[in-house]
Amino acid sequence: MSARLRPPREADFSSPLRDDRVTARVGLWLGIAFLVAFLTGVFSHYGQDTPGWFTYPTGPVSLYRITQGIHVLAGTAAVPLLLVKLWSVYPKLFARLPWPPSRAGLVNGLERASVAVLVSSAIFQLVTGLQNMTHWYPWGFSFRSGHYAVAWVAIGSILVHVAVKLPIIRDALALPIDAATPMPVAERDINARVADPALSRRALLRTTWAAAGLAVLATAGQSVSWLRDVSIFGVRSGDGPQGVPVNRSSVEAGVTKTALDPGWRLTLVNGSVKRQLTRAELEAMPQHTRSLPIACVEGWSAGATWTGVLMADLAALVDAPGDSELFISSLDLNGTFGTSTLPPQFTANSNTLLALKVNGETLDIEHGYPCRVIAPARPGVLQTKWVTSLEVVA
């Protein structure tokens, strides 16, 4: 070893585990994990911010519980995949930058810039996603806008990266993983000492899959109820008032007094037609009971039995058709949680309730007393709690 300290060079890294065959195989599954997270993520985004051409489906009732559970688990599985993949190509960070400038050098420089965008956006997505799961927001940007914009950057740079590397990927995947002949690596110093690795390449891959599987098991309990006791890193145990966990508490929403005020009325508005109902009047209407999950963007979900009034019946009270679009306001004055829009297909759906009870008991204030929206298949952030008014959107 040289006594003089200097930055490492690509050829200093001699482990035969850092090999295109490992990189391509881990990269393949990392790409799949990112693609799954991307598709389910775009679906979730469109559920909350629906573009005109998209009609959000009203069933199956567990749709969002499944897609968002998968979204979060795919991201969690990607953590070990990304770390091992980056480990396998780490020496390339120290490859010489092309100098003096040339056409080949420009291509090389562009490729390295695209890899920088890829690594940065991929790490950003996993870090912010994991933080959002646990309600940890130590940053000054909107999580939803940032995570959504960078998702497109990440998937785009992954696709470009696959395009650039496709011939290498194809050759690497075709070669047996532990074949004795090393892959020809043009830039690697053939005189470099080839270390005796602790693991075979196959063993490293199996260890990586095991790490991804364990990361999924350790967190999945927040969405898959029978894994609750196994998931040591589940964000929620599943316990809560009336057997249902809470995402936003009455204290955070600032409704501890207003929600319990006996003067509370539900206001229904359809243009000039206006009606106000007390909770007793709502209870006197025909009651319906539905088993529907509540599923949050953070990935957790819980099933519950809700009892309340059909949205379509409420629309009828102000002479509005059963498939009216409704603008819902809450006592919670925060913009994100304080209002939501119920699209026509949900108002008309016989699974959409303004719930007064959960699991046979009067709604706890943490679950939205005096009444809350519960609709099938929708993101939890739209299941507005502490409802104060429903307005028919003209």
Binding site: F13, S15, T76, V79, P80, L83, L86, W87, Y90, A116, V119, S120, F124, V127, L130, Q131, T134, H135, W136, P138, W139, G140, F141, S142, S145, G146, A149, V150, W152, V153, I155, G156, S157, I158, L159, V160, H161, A163, V164, L166, P167, A198, L199, A203, L204, T207, A210, A211, L214, A215, A218, I232, F233, G234, S237, D239, P245, V246, R248, S249
Partner: protein, 138 residues
């Protein structure tokens, strides 16, 4: 290069550049008031990985390959990958940074205890596996 690979490259490039452009436009739309914070976190992740996390792993690898007896190297390597990545995933849980007093249903499991028990279990597994491999080597 076969035609299939060439076609694949064109297809992936077109889709990729399109998605990148849309992502850049969405980032632009977020507005200048949030760009600095976004930029910090975008750059921060890659800097933390490339200049801190990865060098630590490399140094640990070098130390491990020199100091560990041959029978212990494979078990230690497996456990570092599994335990290390699980610990990275667990950071927000162990710190309970998002916990709020008004919502006891959030982050309501004994994460640190689980992590300590898990760490003790894998440490014991390393010792047992190394012992078994040593017997086999002899």
């Amino acid at each position: 290069m076969t035609r299939g690979v060439q076609l694949g490259r064109v297809m992936f490039s077109v889709l990729g550049v399109g998605a990148l452009a849309y992502g850049a436009w969405l980032t632009w739309e977020i507005g200048s008031s949030q760009w600095l914070a976004l930029g910090k976190w975008l750059a921060g992740g890659v800097i933390a990985h490339d200049l801190m996390f990865a060098p630590i792993v490399v140094v640990l690898g070098v130390i491990g390959s020199r100091l560990l007896p041959s029978f212990a190297r494979a078990p230690v390597a497996v456990v570092v990958v599994v335990w290390g990545t699980l610990t990275v995933v667990a950071i927000p849980f162990l710190g309970r940074f998002g916990a709020t007093a008004s919502n006891p249903t959030l982050l309501d499991r004994p994460y640190r205890l689980s992590w300590f028990i898990g760490t003790a279990v894998v440490a014991a597994a390393v010792v047992v596996a190394s012992f078994l491999r040593r017997r086999r080597e002899q």
